[in-house]
């Protein structure tokens, strides 16, 4: 099993190594824009929860960026592999289990998410943000990356056109990017809306990173939320691999 997971991961690592420079530079664009617009621009005159707006939004930017990168690192290439290049068949006819394939892909998406998160942490410090980074912080980002790699896997296996993959991002990821406590405190939102938002993993990732970044601990509810999402999405991913042969 471990050998099969590492084979799936190896393939994605070979591809990433070839494009590492492009990957790193392209991943810097969005966070730099967010940091300039919301940190330096809008944030200069805004105080949130007694601190600077820049310190407030950095955990949110980290959460949403790791979500986007992990989702797109798995979702788009896998959807292309299944529908266009048909390279998924090479794995389906090989003696490896669906679980190994799913875990290999999720780990690969997580790795990309973590690399881009590391870039944002460095950039945020350069922009003057102050926050603590420790093992707990890294684990929360890892869980977030795993959850959204899993979501990318499920979307890639269930959605039957590349255009609809784009629509999925527009209707699911984009609203989450802005609503899941990333850029503002959601406590003043209507109760129904807030309750729905608080069920989403990105909200808990943001809460947890904000708490750890400020020198505290991640809330237990956030750990549970993220772990449950990871387990459910890995399970559904395996189911989609079984289903593809029907």
């Amino acid at each position: 099993m471990f050998q099969d997971i590492s084979t799936v991961f190896w393939r994605d690592w070979v591809v990433l190594k070839q494009r590492m420079k492009t990957f790193i530079f392209s991943r810097m664009v969005t966070p730099v824009l967010y940091l300039v617009a919301f940190g330096w621009g809008l944030g200069r005159n805004v105080q949130v929860e007694g601190g600077s707006y820049l310190d407030f939004i950095v955990p949110g930017i980290l959460a949403l960026n790791s979500m986007n990168i992990s989702f797109n690192s798995v979702g788009s290439p896998l959807n292309m592999s299944r529908l266009y290049h048909k390279t998924l068949e090479e794995y389906l006819v090989a003696p490896i289990s669906p679980v190994a394939f799913v875990l290999g892909k999720i780990l690969s998406g997580t790795m990309r998410g973590l690399i881009s998160s590391a870039i944002i942490i460095v950039l945020s410090y350069l922009f003057g943000a102050r926050f603590h980074v420790n093992i707990q912080f890294a684990l929360i980002v890892t869980l977030n990356c795993m959850a959204f790699s899993g979501l990318g896997f499920v979307a890639a296996m269930l959605i039957n056109s590349h255009e609809d993959m784009g629509n999925f991002s527009t209707y699911v990821l984009l609203p989450m990017s802005f609503l899941c406590a990333t850029f503002f405190n959601i406590s003043k939102l209507p109760t129904v809306v807030r309750t729905i938002i608080e069920l989403l993993p990105l909200t808990h990732c943001t809460y947890a990173l904000r708490a750890i970044g400020a020198g505290g601990n991640a809330p237990l509810a956030s750990w549970i939320n993220l772990i449950v999402y990871v387990l459910v999405l890995v399970g559904v991913s395996v189911w989609t691999m079984e289903r593809v042969r029907k």
Partner: protein
């Protein structure tokens, strides 16, 4: 040996494969011949576990599908109709990935890569991206990849479709070489001359049903080895004969210009179904 009993595949109400029974012996080059939509690719997909059958049994070398899936996967080499090489990897990396997926040791992968790239004459292209290869080269690489883990059974789904005649002949030589090395080869094709040139036995399929089975020679003999062909009105007429003199006598009775030629599998197909393999 491959044994197929009562195999059925339905997609909704459409029956793609209808009660197929077949036995393919070890070391045989066996052809599935039929027009597009005859069910050839669906049969290959069921044999390779890419699609689950609706009903029926598949046994490969005393293993049963899907129960013995892992063992069967190790025995099979698969060359699909479409190019499914990884475009982000080089020639060598595509083979390396295949070897890793089949749990081959690093040293073995290295030796096998050198051996097979030489076999398919791509040793100079090992570091090139697959996107830079021609269609014929890609097909040869796919054959090398299918053979990489030393399977004994090779499935080739329309192996020469879209290739120019010269490249097609080269691939035929490669398939003949595999046959001489005792590989069991199951190939699908809608090219009559390909089935005749390569296959020891052929199953002719029409709308998912087996309509004829035998060697190309047997099938031609059954229908008639000689054909008298003439044009009448808007259509082309044919009549089959078992010997040439009977055909010549019949042609002599026609007032129209007629040609006499040896029959082929296309004639067998037309005689049985009333339509051509490629309509």
């Amino acid at each position: 040996m491959i044994q197929i009993k009562g195999l059925v595949k339905k997609f909704g109400d459409r029956v793609a494969v209808n009660q197929l029974d077949l036995e393919i012996g070890s070391g045989e080059v066996f052809g599935l011949l039929g027009p597009n939509g005859a069910g050839k690719t669906t049969i290959i997909r069921m044999l390779t576990m890419l699609t689950r059958p609706t009903a029926g049994e598949i046994h490969i070398n005393n293993c049963t599908l899907p129960a013995d899936e892992e063992q069967v996967k190790a025995m099979l080499g698969i060359v699909p109709q479409h190019f499914n090489l990884d475009p982000d990897l080089s020639v060598g990396e595509n083979l390396e990935l295949h070897g890793r997926l089949h749990h081959m040791a690093a040293e073995d992968r290295k030796l096998r890569m050198a051996e097979l790239l030489e076999y398919v004459e791509l040793q100079e292209r090992v570091h090139d991206k697959v996107q830079s290869l021609s269609g014929g080269m890609k097909r040869r690489l796919m054959i090398a990849r299918a053979l990489f883990h030393r399977p004994r059974i090779l499935f080739l789904d329309e192996p020469t479709v879209g290739l120019d005649p010269q490249v097609r002949r080269k691939l035929w030589d490669l398939i003949r070489r595999l046959h001489s090395e005792k590989f069991t080869v199951l190939l699908t094709t809608h090219y009559i001359e390909e089935a005749e040139a390569l296959c020891g036995r052929v199953a002719i399929l029409e709308k998912g049903k087996l309509i004829a089975l035998g060697s190309p020679e047997e099938l031609r003999r059954r229908t008639g080895e000689y054909v008298v062909e003439w044009t009448e009105g808007d259509g082309r007429e044919t009549r089959f004969f078992h010997d040439r003199s009977e055909a010549a006598n019949f042609a002599g009775t026609l007032t129209l210009t007629a040609t006499i030629r040896r029959s082929n599998l296309e004639d067998v197909f037309v005689e049985m179904t009333g339509r051509k393999v490629i309509d």
